[in-house]
Subunit: 354 residues, 4 copies
């Protein structure tokens, strides 16, 4: 019933990730978008006129006439917000919401380094929401902030979690080939990327080398300990619309005698009980492909409605123990869909009241 | 003077690499193309009618009316041939030429694993041509076969040579993003690669993990010893026309205290005296770029007329010692241009008589 | 109920259009794929192993293990077949099915020029199926052949039908920009089309200048009279995966005084009663877009599950009366989906028995 | 001799067209770039640091350290300027230069509609520079402004001129497929154009329908009469880096009995005597290609150093008389190279003093 749903707002709803939130929340069984916010340029306009819609489905009819509001708790008036704010704005605006008692599920990177803000992947580290208690205490907030990881960290961390559980992970070399939608809209100039590779994304390698350590780390007594894993990261922009491909070489703590167990550990990985059956839970968490030339972004990003991490080319390595390839939808699993899955977990865990 | 030039033939002149040979040999100061060979389907036709020319310059006027010949030493009648044959044909045909006293400079991979066939990069290992003596003796040939490396091995080996000379190289993680022209014509289907990444190229990773060890190895007493370097390789096809990008993480034997010396060692690397001033010698061998987002295939492949290896993003690494990016023109430096440079070296060394 | 469905076969099921048939027929309410045929190379293999699946959804589970059969009526054993055969094979094979009493709904062009074979778009000319009577009589067949138009003719003919009904159409200039999937797999070489335009598609302009005249013509007394419309056609291949864009300049017989009526006539066009509510009927037939920069293939091909024709930029012209742009999904509306819609019409009209 | 060269400035030298000016003027036999101007953000910086260079050749060494100046005649201090200013700025700034006695060769569209400002293609209408007399008189300027046409008008007008001379041109349908570099840098977002077609370019169709009429018109008594040619234009953006493709259907006044004369008239077209041998004159003016699938932007844009118009697929039409395809380099022949060729003509004609 619509009147039982939790009313939510989307902050910065006009951008590339904001549009994904709007698209994915259409018809969501638990959440009902009742408010949208945007930049000063768009405030007061109807949503359908305020943005340059770039997704290959129409703007949901129910959103078209919503008025774009300023990004303040007073304007939004909802107990839960999804934030697609740019990091510099998120840094200032999101705490205002948390202070006002709002649960903030954000895609922004502003607070990922904060020791009491979880970077959350429900199929990986649902227990990290325990940090929320410390966050509230330290900040004096009634609400809280929970982030999802950088879109490139997402898929590889899910694959690494399956390996960590089974064999332990020691060191990782990873090279990403990232889709243009990861840079937002207008984002990457076509003159830079058409028929080209740009072997640099500002600030990205630092994030991708650190965020998995936090997500794969332990939370005890409301304190987080980073996982002891070494990372060497190369990030690249490639002419792909959606879908980040990451190739990984991994050193395990306890490599199995039978290499076939590696693919099995990936394929059989299950989300923890608490997050396994949520509306946005990926089915399966990891799809292991046998074909020599898969996964590929064009063919595999919509696996599990865009929430599944596709893995392939699982094979031995000459220096470390194994090599593999992951493909993950960067604006669904790696951004808006991830934040929504986070919010579902927080509802399930009682951090957000129905 | 044209009548002093060495007459040469191009084997398999109608394919993608064959066309590059024809293009690059136009007006060459030492070599004069007097014969072309092709597949049975094209034999007897004029070259201008036998192929689907895919380069953005016209077929050289002097080549247009040459008759396509069968790939036999009797038909070609030249002391030197450039081979763009596919590997399975090269395996059978190239020895016939060598036996007939012809110098074969080939782009094919058929004999790269042979212990007495050098994989040659004149700016890296000109002394490996000493293996030709053993090759002739063993095979009883008057001619010989010299190969250039796989197009992906090329750029990274040149960069690694500079590092090897200065600091020693111990282990290397490398991920390639390879242009479609590397697969020939028609090669990669547009449905496979437009807006996509294919994380697999058949047989490529094995080549790229082995060939640099041979080129960076030592030749003593006509025997080659592979370099003791460990390689972990990922190869990918990307939607780029020309230019292979490789990202590398490198462990050095003796890393410098001052990291700035790494870029200096790359930038200052010079080809050995014997190969430094040949007509196709890259000027410079390595161009080190300072810009954060370079090298890029679209902007950098024609550096040094397509013969220079562009290097950038030289930076420290969290696991090994350094990370860097190389871009190299795969059908010029990595194929036809490389074979021509090899032939120039062989002339200079007296293996081919003027 | 599954046991009430009509059993069907897909001929040449392993190619690009054949795969679309398999994908679109999965779960079809009226048709049940029980047989698949393929080339000699694939006969006897399981479907899941016989083809290189290129669609971004998995092979339907129920199809994976079906054995690929030869393309004969004896092997297929169904009262209805969908044909994705290449034209030269269709010319020989499809009549064998028709002779054996089978209804053939084909995407091949082999019989489009035949005066008694309808080129059928259910939302345009459902009455043309009357030609089947003459076809059977002339050929002595119990079955019959019905074709859908060339993928480029499809979208523009639907738009022209709406204009023809409202104002009459006299002359048309059209330029197509056609997706690579229209050429099948492997089809267009990536070296030909990446970052490029190829202003030529063999035989295409002739088809696109003629097929709409047949579909927009009249059938009386089982004879078809071509519509008196002049066409000037340019066809181009562009680097787009799916979706043919056609820009048109149209001369009307009776242009409306109020230009706004043109867009209205397009937007309000309805399929004839008989084809309006069939399972694959586009909803709506034509979507008229107001945005200045629409329709675009990336954003609009999936409108109406890929069956709707998107139209935009409806504006006056300096020479004729109006200019407009159409976008249509070439392998759904313009190929497999079109054939399935045709079959539904033929069931509805009683040509195929349930 | 360098000290005999005419000193010139490039206005807005940091943008996409500005960079082409700098690239093409490097080593020009008549002109010597001594000054560069840029936006307020870049003034005072060195040129090498003020711009994001997007061309696949290095910034000329001599330009790297030039200081970026404001766009004023006082700062530039040259008798001739090449302007890459955006139209809105050109409207204000270019007259200041003309008033100060400077010859302005501009790529901006601000004054193209002015009856006394020629839109100049030296191989088409060199006599239109006679309008300069009227311009100076009317404006009271010592200097003057001469424009080159829109990049899309350029190639098609050159082809139409050849047809006009031989047979007369009555009406033209044209559809463009325009490269992204035509929109400058950053220009088109990659999310809009990768794997896509955008059937709209703001203001473009109006320009392309009008500018050829001016260039193909007559100047008598310093007054210009537009050519009586009807145009119907569709413009589209396509994922191509450089090179505008235009397909045309043309009605002739006096079509030849022998259709072969059409291609001959195009191939044999020569620039008028005065502009035939200038340094940037295209050799040939028009290259007519016989291959069924040419011209293509990837293969043909550099014909005649980027100054030649490539024409192909010259064939009869069902409504008008002929169809053809043109490809022209939009930032060389259609922008910077065109302006430089214009300046050469003005020197030759004495409007600019050596």
């Amino acid at each position: 019933m619509s009147n039982k749903k939790i009313p939510v707002a989307v902050l910065a709803a006009t951008g590339a990730v904001g549009q994904r939130f709007i698209q994915l929340l259409e018809g969501h069984p638990w959440f009902d978008v009742i408010a949208l916010t945007g930049s000063p340029r768009t405030i007061g306009k109807k949503y359908g006129e305020a943005n340059s819609w770039i997704l290959p489905t129409d703007i949901p009819e129910s959103m078209r006439d919503l008025e774009v509001l300023p990004s303040t708790p007073e304007a939004a008036q909802t107990p839960l917000v999804f934030s697609a704010l740019p990091s510099d704005e998120a840094k200032i605006i999101e705490p205002l919401f948390a202070k006002a008692g709002v649960a903030v599920c954000t895609n922004a990177g502003a607070f990922r380094q904060d020791p009491h803000t979880p970077i959350l992947l429900p199929e990986v580290n649902p227990g990290h929401t325990a940090l929320i208690h410390a966050q509230r205490e330290k900040q004096g907030w009634e609400g809280f902030i929970v982030t999802n990881p950088n879109c490139t960290s997402t898929g590889m961390t899910i694959a690494l979690k399956a390996l960590q559980n089974a064999f332990g992970v020691k060191r990782v070399f990873a090279t990403s080939m990232q889709a243009i939608s990861g840079a937002g809209y207008p984002g990457v100039s076509s003159l830079d990327i058409l028929g080209n590779i740009v072997p640099y994304i500002g600030g990205e390698e630092e994030k991708v080398a650190w965020e998995p350590r936090k997500m794969l780390g332990k939370v005890e007594n409301n304190e987080l300990e980073l996982a002891e894993i070494g990372f060497s990261i190369h990030t690249n922009r490639v002419p792909v619309i959606d879908g980040h491909t990451v190739v990984l070489t991994v050193e395990l703590n306890a490599p199995p005698a039978d290499f076939g167990l590696v693919a099995a550990a990936l394929a059989e990985y299950q989300a923890p009980e608490v997050s396994r059956s949520l509306p946005s839970a990926p089915q399966p968490v990891i799809r292991v492909r046998d074909e020599a030339n898969r996964p590929q972004p064009r063919l595999d990003i919509m696996e599990g409605k865009g929430m599944t991490t596709s893995v392939g080319r699982v094979r031995p390595d000459g220096i470390f123990n194994l090599r593999l390839v992951t493909v993950s939808h960067n604006t669904i699993r790696g951004a808006a869909g991830g934040s929504i899955y986070n919010a579902e977990l927080l509802v399930e865990q009682g951090f957000i009241k129905r």
